[in-house]
Amino acid sequence: MTTVEKPAYSVIGTRPVRPDGVEKVTGKAQYGADIRLSGMIFGRVLRSPHAHARILSIDTSAAEAHPGILAVLTYRDLPAAEDKMEELGESNINVKEASDNVLASDKVLYRGHAIAAVAAASPHVAEEALAKIKVEYEILPAVLDVRDAMREDAPLLNERRFTKSMGGVMSEKPSNIAAHNQFKGGDIDAAFADADVVIEREFTTSMVHQGYIEPQVSTASWNADGTLTIWTSTQGAFAVRGLVAEILRHPVSSIRVVPMEIGGGFGGKLPIYLDPVAALLSKKSGRPVKVSMSRTDVFEATGPTSGTHIRLKMAAKGDRITGVQAVLSYEAGAYPGSAVGAGAMCMLAPYNVENFQLDTYDVVVNRPKTAAYRAPGAPAAAFATESVVDEIARQLKIDPLEFRRKNASRQDTRNVMGVAFPRIGNEETLDAAINSPHYRAPIEGPNRGRGVASGFWFNGGMQSSVVAAVNTDGTINLVEGSTDIGGTRASLAMQLAETLGVAYETIRPVVVDTDSIGHNDVTGGSRTTFASGMAVFEAGMDIRRQMITRAAKLWSCTEDEVVYEDGGLRCLKDSTKELTFKELAAQSARTGGPIVGKASLIARGAGGAFATHIVDVEVDPDTGKVTILRYTAVQDVGTAIHPAYVEGQIQGGVVQGIGWALNEEYFYDESGRMVNSSFLDYRMPTALDVPNIDTIIVEVPNPGHPYGVRGVGEVPIVPPLAAIANAVADATGHRFTALPMSPRKVLEALDGLE
């Protein structure tokens, strides 16, 4: 661990057992599928067999007459929605598109697009009824690839969609290009004209899925009084509540969303799919309804991340990167909203580049609408940038990490948005990588190579609410509303313990439903330990202030004469007057009643995160298989609240990046059917595929947070794609510009069969 400017902490930086650990390892933790309600029935969803088709008619009469069917649903049951963007808490949605994605109305835009739903006491009966729903289609030509979709003669997903550009319309006729944007600075032409080295490459990455182990599942109970309860697997209970309210035109206050334990999300459980369906099936049947997805449903009908095409040209003079020009085109899926803008805003962040022009295109294709996936948009963009940076360093015969160090961004470097970075830890991260045991060790042996790459993610703040109630025995119930994905119950309890100077074990954190706490934005954007941690700090300070007031009353002194330190209170003017936290808590009933600390805030000051990764690979020349021999991830985390969970986040991100680089891809046939929609055929890394991922935690505290926290969970997936490609290039002399580098593709390349 490399630490910069860090204060001494008592609890922060230790590795206590997680509060939810026992429930999880004993199987008692309740996930979405575990819900069993009295009278509960089961919903099933009919999905499109076509990638692109007009719906001419939907006849549900036979399904409705099927014995045992208690409810049938189509788009006609959803309120009409306006076709425009609306701001909804922390997210922006087009309600018409969101509604159409829940149940298609006039068109199906991808195979797996939901069309109708039924509910019955038995899931088998529900499936029988689904088969009786008659949908008449006019099958339309599908467009699956971003470059094909951008062609002028491409089939249009929406004949009324024109290309927009920051509030304006820029295309004269309808297009699959939903949006164009540009980031521009300096004089790019002069940079290329004056360069010693110019390298231009085209890169493609495939659509990949987050691969969370738990499929989407939602159970809803619509009561006779119009109140609705939803138990669901989500990264944001309040977001579900808001989206369901908007799609169903139902009062927010009448909807209670209970976030269950979550089996992974990584951004994929920010959107909603089943919740409105379960709700309306429940309303129609008068029974609680559970609807769940199969793995094939998850692949075909939930949001993966974009497939991309990136053309990038980079100039260098001496040992400096002097200019970058890039065109980024990202598949948005069936509806606009890819993360191409974020990709462009991240791709040059590790460098001080004055001359640049980055054009971005958000393109709809006949695939499921994309969703966020760890550092959305950044990994593919970094794959392009970091591959070319590596190539330039080789051409200039400069060590690739030293080259990055010479060009590194730092505080006050201007990014592509045109604004200066605050305090960041990019250089410290590079230094730690350069000095790491891994990088200092030689890489030896045939067919082996080493690669490095850097990456950046902004991290988020947004809204959080917490309540901390002090009990008379000195223990504390910490109530929060953020889904715990990566150990945030622990990281929040630790920050409260640090703030109050009490033992971590005295704090019992609990994640509650939307009726039981103020608004919390999603667990996403690496924000919860940062933003809810800030709220916890404020709630802790609230408790301290209340305890000081009470001690002053007890001791007949002024509040200025009472000091709160080390988990206790003492009177400055009388050394005999001291109380521990527990002793004062015991007197709460006689000193003013319950002691409850509260905080609701918008967290500002999120510090960006930088990472640099080192990987050694061996390429089998006979099979094309790439084996990861050694992997070290170096990352500035600000302050590691719970280092074991920080390491876990980093290791998890790296493994997902390894899958993206080497194996994972949505593989479609010509009709638009995904042919590898199971975990047997969609190859994610397993424990047998990767070595132990070494982590080096760098701590450059974020000045925007009381404990210096930076978000941790996203940036670790940014460098692996390029780091592995650079290692494969080092091992084979062949530079791969298309992902995944599957054994077949590697073998074809090595045999000159591309």
Binding site: M85, E86, E87, E90, S91, N92, S165, M166, G167, G168, A179, H180, N181, Q182, F183, K184, G185, Q210, G265, F266, G267, G268, L270, A339, G341, A342, M345, Q357, T360, A372, Y373, R374, A375, P376, G377, N415, M417, G418, V419, A420, F421, P422, W457, F458, N459, G460, G461, G524, G525, S526, R527, R604, G605, A606, G608, G704, G711, G713, E714
Partner: protein, 87 residues
């Protein structure tokens, strides 16, 4: 004074200018002051009295969703950027 970075796709409204330094105390005041120099700018950022949902701001290095009434400190640097969300 506030330094505002003009988005590349809107620089045509500002005669090619990439950066303006403007006296303003709120986001709305800033955008209206830019509008005076770059006619058509305000409506590209604001729709029906609200910042367009697809846009955010990079304020002093942090990407945040500001509202028109949000105040700005003197010396701040601000850019208008596409909305983004994490995973």
């Amino acid at each position: 004074m506030i330094t505002v970075i003009i988005p590349a796709v809107l620089r045509g409204l500002c005669g090619g200018t990439a950066k303006l330094v403007i006296a303003a105390t709120t986001v709305d005041g800033l955008l209206r002051a830019v509008e005076e120099r770059c006619p058509g700018f305000y409506d590209r950022v604001v729709e029906q009295g609200h910042v367009r949902p697809e846009l955010m701001f990079a304020l002093d290095g942090e990407v945040v969703p500001l509202a028109l009434h949000d105040t700005l400190r003197s010396g701040a640097e601000i850019a208008i950027v596409p909305a983004m969300a994490g995973g």
